[in-house]
């Protein structure tokens, strides 16, 4: 197990380097003027442009640029927005909000998704199973922002159950946006759990468990479930990326003052540095989270530990 952990840690490093280099390359190395790319159409006097070129090390060779860029990142310097505010300040200020939203969403995803999937999977063809299948199909088809508006309109505006914007009511205000954010992922998790369970139930070792005279609840709950959840766990890890992208949309629809909203505003205001900085942070977080998922995977599936 120790070797597995070490291997995954080691493998994470080139991915971090590669991903950060990819972002860096897109912004600074593609043909065109990075300043203009980051700043959009805003008119900048030549003196400012020259200063910015100096700040971004654009006069250095590419690899040196990258090295300084990474050096900055490691020290927490994610750049400075055109409005003068260091990106790291925006990050530290808004991160807790986004984390709360993400946790609520992941909570919904896991609890509702897996539960629905289990109930549907063990009763294949039943009313509930068909209900889950149909509803998840619809949810998956509706983009997050559309769902957000619908939810905001019906549950917020018309029925008044949830606040339609902001985080003024504490954790309660995270429920609707969290649910909306989780919706797509939740639907996938439910379907995946359902399929995985239904497939695993036909496995030989489940047959053995029955032949051993074990109770049906043990056969399903212990023998089948753990094996079935393995792909689900993997999915949840990979899905965080979609969740982060969805957070941008959800926070903008529900006007939640998190990092997602900051990205949205940054795009609108042509604050390229802010956008890139926050996205970079998201990416690091995502890669690290997937490492944790990989480790959890090894806990669930012993075969992996000895690879």
């Amino acid at each position: 197990m120790g070797r597995y952990v070490a291997r995954r840690l080691l493998l994470m490093i080139p991915v971090l380097i590669g991903a950060s280099f990819l972002i860096f390359w897109m912004v600074y190395a593609l043909p065109g003027d990075p300043i203009r790319a980051l700043g959009g159409d805003r008119p900048l006097p030549p003196a400012v442009v020259a200063q910015l070129r100096e700040d971004f090390n654009l006069n250095d060779p590419l690899l040196v640029q990258y090295a300084k860029y990474v050096g900055g990142l490691l020290q927490g310097d994610f750049g400075t927005a055109f409005n003068g505010r260091p990106v790291i300040d925006t990050i530290t200020q808004r991160l807790p909000v986004t984390i709360r939203l993400a946790l609520v969403a992941i909570g919904f995803e896991i609890v509702i998704g897996i539960l629905a999937g289990i109930l549907a999977g063990i009763r294949r063809g039943s009313y509930f199973d068909n209900l889950v299948l149909v509803s998840t199909t619809f949810v998956v088809s509706i983009p997050v922002f559309v769902l957000g508006f619908i939810a905001q309109y019906t549950l917020g505006l018309k029925l008044g159950i949830f606040p339609i914007a902001g985080v003024n009511e504490g954790l309660y205000s995270y429920i609707l946006p969290g649910l909306v954010l989780a919706s797509l992922s939740l639907a996938y998790v439910a379907r995946l759990t359902r399929t995985s369970l239904a497939e695993n139930v036909r496995n030989d070792y489940v047959r053995t468990a029955r032949a051993k005279g074990l109770k049906p609840s043990v056969v399903i709950g212990k023998h089948t479930l753990r094996n079935s959840l393995i792909p689900v766990v993997t999915f949840i890890g990979a899905d965080l990326g979609a969740l982060l992208g969805g957070a941008i949309v959800t926070e903008s629809v529900f006007n939640i003052p998190g990092l997602g909203r900051a990205v949205y505003d940054g795009v609108r205001n042509q604050e390229g540095v802010l956008v890139v900085g926050i996205v970079t942070m998201f990416v690091f977080f995502y890669i690290f989270f997937n490492l944790l998922v990989d480790l959890l995977y090894a806990v669930l599936d012993p075969r992996i530990r000895y690879e």
């Binding site: 493998l11 080139p14 991915v15 971090l16 590669g18 991903a19 990819l22 972002i23 897109m26 912004v27 593609l30 065109g32 990075p34 203009r36 790319a37 980051l38 199909t137 619809f138 998956v140 088809s141 509706i142 983009p143 997050v144 922002f145 559309v146 508006f149 619908i150 905001q152 309109y153 505006l157 497939e199 990979a238 965080l240 990326g241 979609a242 982060l244 992208g245 969805g246 941008i248 949309v249 903008s252 629809v253 990205v263 949205y264 795009v267 609108r268 390229g272 956008v275 890139v276 996205v279 998201f282 990416v283 995502y286 890669i287 997937n290």
Partner: protein
């Protein structure tokens, strides 16, 4: 064909069993993948028969055809010019003259929504083709050659996996000056090819040790031929299922990017843009949100329905 249970009529009683059952299972899977023309055609004809009878596929397929028609020949659905706007009609609701009402500029909304199909479907088509090309090439090379090639390509794939689709596309599009159909497709391809690659690679790896592949190689077939004629046809079914569902996701992604302002730009017709524009008129002009949302969702739904039905029809285990 299994050498576990010989035909009782002829084989000797003591069988030479394989070393490990897992190898046998893998071999049997490969044999089940037998690329004989006979076996493939029976898979497809059986699948088609099953699909025809599947109401979800039929409904999804009809919707797909409708939206495709909308994209290719919008004039079939409306004669009205979506840019012929009269500001005095601003944000009016549906009526007999304007089925979907008018947008904030007084343009006929029905026409706008119909024309919105084209860019979405185009991006969907271009992106999936790009994804499949890259996925096939990288996946086939990685799976077939293994070793260093595989390791390097796998690491590169991991790096790209580290950048989620929306986030990566966001960064790329924010540094591009124009944001048209091709740029958006490029962004989605660059950050979306990895799943197709893994699918192809998995297929190649599982099939390349099969007997008929070894036979082809022994007969001197070039790598390209072995891959294209013997190995990759096995990937067609899973890739087809994946592609169908993926196009739905691509269209949703484009709409999301346009909604965020980083995708298609005004005055292009895009459901994402239309939904974005409808945001602050939710209270009094809900129709502005409703119709593009409906069309967008139904389009994505059509792909999902077809994809699900295809998966069920082509999955040998469910037969």
């Amino acid at each position: 064909m299994s050498n576990r249970e010989p035909d009782f009529g002829g084989a000797p009683s003591v069988t030479a069993a394989p070393e490990r059952p897992e190898e046998q299972k893998a071999a049997e899977t490969a044999v089940a993948h037998v690329g004989g023309a006979l076996r493939q055609t029976s898979l497809w004809s059986d699948a088609w028969r099953q699909l025809r009878r599947n109401p979800f596929f039929v409904v999804g397929g009809l919707m797909f055809l409708t939206f495709t028609a909308m994209a290719v020949v919008p004039k079939l659905f409306t004669r009205i010019d979506p840019r012929a706007c009269d500001i005095s009609n601003s944000a009016q609701g549906p009526s007999a003259d304007a089925w979907f009402g008018y947008d904030v500029y007084g343009c006929d909304y029905y026409a706008n929504v119909i024309y919105g199909a084209r860019k979405s479907m185009s991006i969907g088509l271009i992106t999936i083709i790009g994804v499949l090309i890259i996925g096939l090439v990288v996946g086939a090379l990685s799976g077939y050659y293994g070793g260093w090639t595989d390791s390097v390509l796998a690491r590169i794939t991991d790096v790209f996996y580290g950048l989620p689709l929306i986030l990566g596309a966001l960064v790329l599009l924010s540094v591009l000056t124009t944001r048209g159909v091709w740029q958006i497709s490029l962004a989605l391809i660059v950050f979306g090819w990895m799943t197709a690659m893994r699918l192809v690679r998995a297929t190649v790896v599982s099939v390349k040790e099969a007997d008929y592949v070894q036979a082809a190689r022994a007969l001197g077939s070039s790598t390209r031929r072995v891959l294209s004629r013997h190995i990759l046809p096995n990937a067609v079914a899973p890739l087809l299922v994946y592609s169908t569902i993926a196009v739905g996701g691509i269209i949703a992604a484009e709409a999301t990017l346009s909604f965020l302002g980083i995708g298609l730009q005004r005055p292009a017709f895009s459901w994402g843009l239309q939904i974005d524009a409808s945001q602050n008129r939710l209270r009094d002009a809900a129709h502005l949100l409703l119709f593009p949302s409906l069309f967008l969702s139904l389009t994505v739904l059509s792909f999902i329905l077809m994809g699900d039905a295809l998966r069920d029809a082509l999955d040998p285990k469910l037969r």
